[in-house]
């Protein structure tokens, strides 16, 4: 299903996600990321809307506010990159004492936000996120 509507000028408006797409996306996020021990993962758009979210059951945070802030953060950092002559930064990641947060762009319009603890190395997570992002991008493009 073509879920990414564009108008005559070619700009995006309104995303419609059907059940099958969302189930497939959740399967990928579950198998590729949650099964690694990630605490939470959510797929959002650049406007701050939540498309899919999974967590490990112990995680009790407000995903809608997080999504709004994540989109704003990513947007601000991307703008800074362009201001200094970079096309984009290859890594956006914030390290906490117990929880860290990683941002990954999925196609032009979406972000994968992963929240994880000390049990996972950043390098390994980046690899798995890149794989998962590719698979999700294929579903979103379908």
């Amino acid at each position: 299903m073509n879920n990414h509507r564009k108008n005559e000028a070619g700009e995006s408006f309104n995303h419609v996600f059907d059940k099958e797409q969302l189930i497939r996306i959740e399967e990928i996020l579950g198998q590729d990321l949650m099964d690694l021990g990630v605490h939470a993962v959510f797929l959002i758009d650049l406007a701050g809307n939540v498309i899919a979210s999974l967590d490990n059951g112990d995680w009790q945070h407000d995903i809608y506010s997080l999504a709004a802030l994540a989109a704003g953060n990513f947007g601000a950092v991307s703008t800074m990159a362009r201001l200094i002559g970079e096309e984009e930064f290859s890594l956006l990641f914030h390290k906490g004492k117990k929880e860290s947060i990683h941002f990954s762009k999925v196609s032009d319009d979406f972000l994968l936000i992963t929240i994880f603890g000390k049990e996972l190395s950043l390098g390994f997570l980046r690899l798995k996120v890149a794989e998962a992002s590719q698979k999700v991008a294929e579903i979103l493009g379908s």
Binding site: A9, G10, E11, S12, F13, N14, H15, V16, F17, D18, K19, L22, I23, D45, L46, A47, G48, N49, V50, I51, D62, Y64, S65, A68, L69, A71, G72, G75, A76, T79, D109
Partner: protein, 201 residues
């Protein structure tokens, strides 16, 4: 850019409160947050300076119930109004589905209203959107200040300055005291959802 989730039967739409600095955008959300606690499950997010000026945005998610079997979740945002935060305003406008333009009724702020509306139009154009094609409601805020003897721009002049071509629904309001704050929000939500009707059929 609304998100329609056919699996959860949920629609998420983004409404941005725009306008000149100190015009009452954040005060609108503060009032809504106080009055609608039963529909707001979380804290309001605010990113502001020490001087209480909005630095990045305020964010307030509201669940308004079901329309055509879909749960409607409205994300209300404000932008920072100060002129120097234009890049930030553009960021917050990304994916906007409906706009409330909060104009400052103080006579001394007349020029700032006009400049802010032009700025909105320019920033929408950066996303290839036209201010004429997006659901928009005008709010002429701070009408309560007439009781304190401060000179206000008359309603007809505000309409002439800001609404001659747009012909958007307009409300005289006081975000501090409450009149027409909820009505403004209801109007923009109805207009925004109407614009999404085609997807909900």
């Amino acid at each position: 850019m609304a998100i329609i989730n056919l699996r959860k039967k949920e629609v998420q739409a983004k409404i941005v409160y725009y306008g000149p600095g100190r015009g009452g955008k954040t005060t609108n959300l503060d009032y809504l947050y106080k009055k609608l606690r039963d529909r707001i499950k979380t804290e309001m997010v605010t990113i502001k300076t020490h001087g209480d000026r909005t630095l990045f945005f305020d964010f307030l998610p509201i669940e308004i119930g079901k329309i055509k079997g879909y749960d409607i979740r409205i994300q209300l945002y404000t932008v920072p109004g100060q002129v120097k935060y234009d890049a930030t305003r553009r960021l917050v406008l990304r994916g906007v589905d409906g706009i409330v333009f909060v104009a400052d009724s103080l006579e001394v702020r007349r020029k700032e209203n006009i400049l802010s509306l032009k700025n909105l139009s320019d920033n929408l154009a950066a996303y290839k959107k036209s201010i004429f094609d997006i659901p928009l409601v005008m709010q002429y805020n701070k009408r309560d200040l007439s009781e304190e003897g401060l000179p206000l721009i008359p309603f007809e002049s505000l309409e002439k300055d800001l609404n001659t071509k747009l012909k958007a629904p307009s409300f005289e309001a006081s975000a501090l005291k409450g009149p027409n704050v909820i009505q403004t929000m209801k109007k923009i939500i109805i207009m925004t959802i109407d614009s999404l009707q085609r997807e909900l059929r």
